[in-house]
């Protein structure tokens, strides 16, 4: 092919690429612009005191498939201001799974919890101290760290097998230890989210029953914002546990699910 042919081919290729870009990028830019507008409108509603409208707008963004801890934080704020304590705490908890070390989120969640009528069971401080990274890192970061340690482990192992000089054995052991810590932590997080999903009571007060009917005996009452563990689901009821010994059934619509991985 001569120079002219090359230039013609290159020009044709450029035209095709531009066309493909235009047809794919323009709609996506337009779509993104729509989301930006929705978000800014929701922020404006919040600042003007239209908390219910702001909550609905943020909720629409979340329901459109956006997973973002900051968006969930904003939902928590909007619901709190709108007087829906249960929903506020539910969204704060979802945000905490993605931003566990965010100080503003921690403060707001703590503040919202101070309004919960039920005394919450205390969490083990020993576990929080011993396994501090589980409470500082999000599940995503933990998985990525496990993957990176795994990759590094095999790179160093390959180097030892193939090249000289060989890296020291203690380096391999250290990397393996780091990998095991993060991999096991990630696995435990997945297991707990799947086997023991957590939820938040949404209405002001909920009667926890002994059976799958509103006419069953009331066992105890939980109030908006209380966190529960979901042990089973049947029909449209969840069997929940609050603290160590309080177990009962409540309607599924009255519980907001926290876990992101189920």
């Amino acid at each position: 092919m001569n120079g002219r042919g090359i230039r013609r081919t290159g020009l044709t290729l450029m035209i095709w690429l531009t066309a493909v870009f235009a047809f794919t990028a323009v709609p996506s830019f337009a779509g993104e612009a729509g989301l930006h507008q929705q978000f800014l409108k929701a922020v404006s509603d919040y600042e003007n005191g239209e908390y219910v409208r702001a909550a609905e707008a943020f909720r629409a963004l979340a329901d459109s498939g956006i997973h973002n801890g900051e968006l969930y934080y904003n939902l928590g704020n909007a619901y709190f201001r709108a007087g829906e304590l249960g929903r506020a705490i539910c969204w704060y908890e979802k945000a905490r799974q993605m931003l566990p070390a965010d100080p503003e989120l921690a403060f707001n969640l703590d503040y919202a919890r101070s309004f919960v009528k039920d005394r919450q069971p205390e969490q083990s401080s020993l576990a929080r101290t011993l396994f501090f990274w589980r409470y500082l890192l999000s599940q995503k970061i933990t998985v990525y760290l496990a993957g990176a340690a795994r990759l590094l482990f095999f790179v160093v192992l390959f180097w030892r097998k193939v090249f000289r000089p060989r890296p020291p054995g203690w380096l391999l052991s250290a990397i393996l230890a780091v990998f095991l810590v993060f991999a096991v932590t990630a696995a435990v997080n997945f297991y707990l989210a799947g086997a023991f999903p957590r939820g938040v009571i949404l209405p002001g007060a909920v009667s926890v029953k002994s059976g799958l009917s509103e006419l069953s005996t009331e066992l105890f009452i939980l109030h908006s914002g209380s966190c529960v563990t979901i042990e089973d689901s049947r029909k449209d009821y969840y069997r929940i546990r609050f603290g160590g010994d309080k177990v009962g059934w409540i309607q599924q619509e009255k519980v907001g699910l926290i876990s992101l991985h189920i």
Binding site: H67, E104, Q139, F158, K161, F190, L215
Partner: protein, 583 residues
Amino acid sequence: MKRLILIAAALFWAATCLAAEPEVRATVDRSEVAPGESLRLTVEISGAQGAVNVSGIRDFEVVSRGTSQNISIVNGQMSKRVNYTYTLMPKKIGRLLIPPLPVDIDGRTLYTEMLAIQVARDGGEQNAGRSSDLFARMSLSEKQVCLGQQFIARLRIYNAVPVTGRAFQKAPVFEGFAVEQLEENRTYTTTVSGRRYEVVEVVYVLTPEKTGTLAAGPATIECQVVRRDRSAGRSPFDAFFNPVQPVSKLVRAGAAEVTVVPLPDFSGPGRFSGLVGTFDLQVDIDETALTVGGSANLTMTVKGQGNIRDATLPQLALPEEAFKIYQEDPVEEVAVSAAGISGYKRFSAALVPLRQGEYQLGPFSLTYFDVEREQYVTVQSEPLAVTVAPASKESEVNLFAAGKQEGKAETSNIRKESVRFTGKDLFPLKKDLSAIADRPPVSVTQYLLLIGLPGIFYLVALAVAVYARKDESVARVMARQSRTALKTARRLGGNAGGDYLDSLYRAIVYAVYSRAGRQGQTLTYREARTLLEEKGCSEAFIEEVCAFLEAVEQARYGGQSGDASAAEILMRTAGDLVRRLTR
């Protein structure tokens, strides 16, 4: 001939079956019901399969109960019937209509007949449901209440026939009320219009949160009524093995209304606490003789019957700047009974006196609205006398940020205090557009891939390295042996004679094998030539190598190893050849 007759008979039979026109029919099990009672509507489709549209029924709530099929052959004629069953609950009293229902059969629409149902007017509890097996009522303890005044709502479900189970099909709605339900439902028997009923009573304590006419309920309850079912088509064996069949029935309790009036304006001293009911206030302090910097626990208990949960901290009438106050979370204990909500709420605060002196704390007061007296009532606690003695030197408290005093050395007597929150509010929104960037969580599959893929890459890379090295390793081994032989020769020196030449010879032989990528111990210079030609070496280089091998062999077997300079030349040449062969 026989065959012809048989074919004709079969065709005739098929024709009679196909000739049957589909029919639709709607029937009800009763045409008169009381308010809150349900009836059963059955739409029967004969001779075909179809779809029933019940959206036109406006006067009833409609709950589908499923379908059943019946196939029969009579006089050689097969007929098929499909029944669609619905439970209907009337929405009002009077003469209600079930309009002709369209049934779509293979693209054709047939209509059922219109049906009229009489829903009897309610004549009061004694007369209501006179002949009903089941009915339900919602009743309130008050017709008019004040805002915040609690009262009782009772949902009673009456059954004169055995019932195996009850469940809310639609639970009662108490919009505008805070609701507490009694833990256990009451069960008792009563007589209504001469008929004995078993009653299940669900008790709610309602506290209105807004004024106006509010409704408690309605509610729809599904009951499993036990009755012997003698419907057509059941075999005697079914009757023997399954003598009773529970039938699902719906009963409806209508809404009960209550008028909520606002509380009268409060114009007394102090402030209204928001409590409605009957209450008392108790104030205690655990220590009345204090020192500056010490602490005492002040407890205020609001106790009584009413909206106790809404109690807030009574006003603290404490001398200004004499005490520092640290409030604790309130503790409440509340019981819900058929008389209402009662209990107590306890507020505690730690008091730290800042100045010595004698103080009177209180009296503390609580103003609530007494429903029985229909007026605001203020209860007061007895004042508490507290004596604050001066602090010891170690715990002296300086109220002023004093500068250097004359004649005195400057010392810091400031008592350090923990920083506590003076107020709390939410941190603001996160307004950056990064808040709408999608960051999906990691799935279990992604996690397993991240963990598993590096291992797979490692195995593949290792296999590639091992395979690539297969050819190389021989060359490297031979190159290493060549260098080792050269080192040996260097170490032995030219005076070593045969051993020295031996080492040189081996060095070149191993180097040639290394170049050829093969293993070997000995080599003639013809073989060396062949190997180096295969590897594409230049003719001049091959000649050099072969000449060296020949020279070494001659020196070994010709006894010319003693010359040091010659040995030196051989050494240098061998080193150069090894370098060029093994690079």
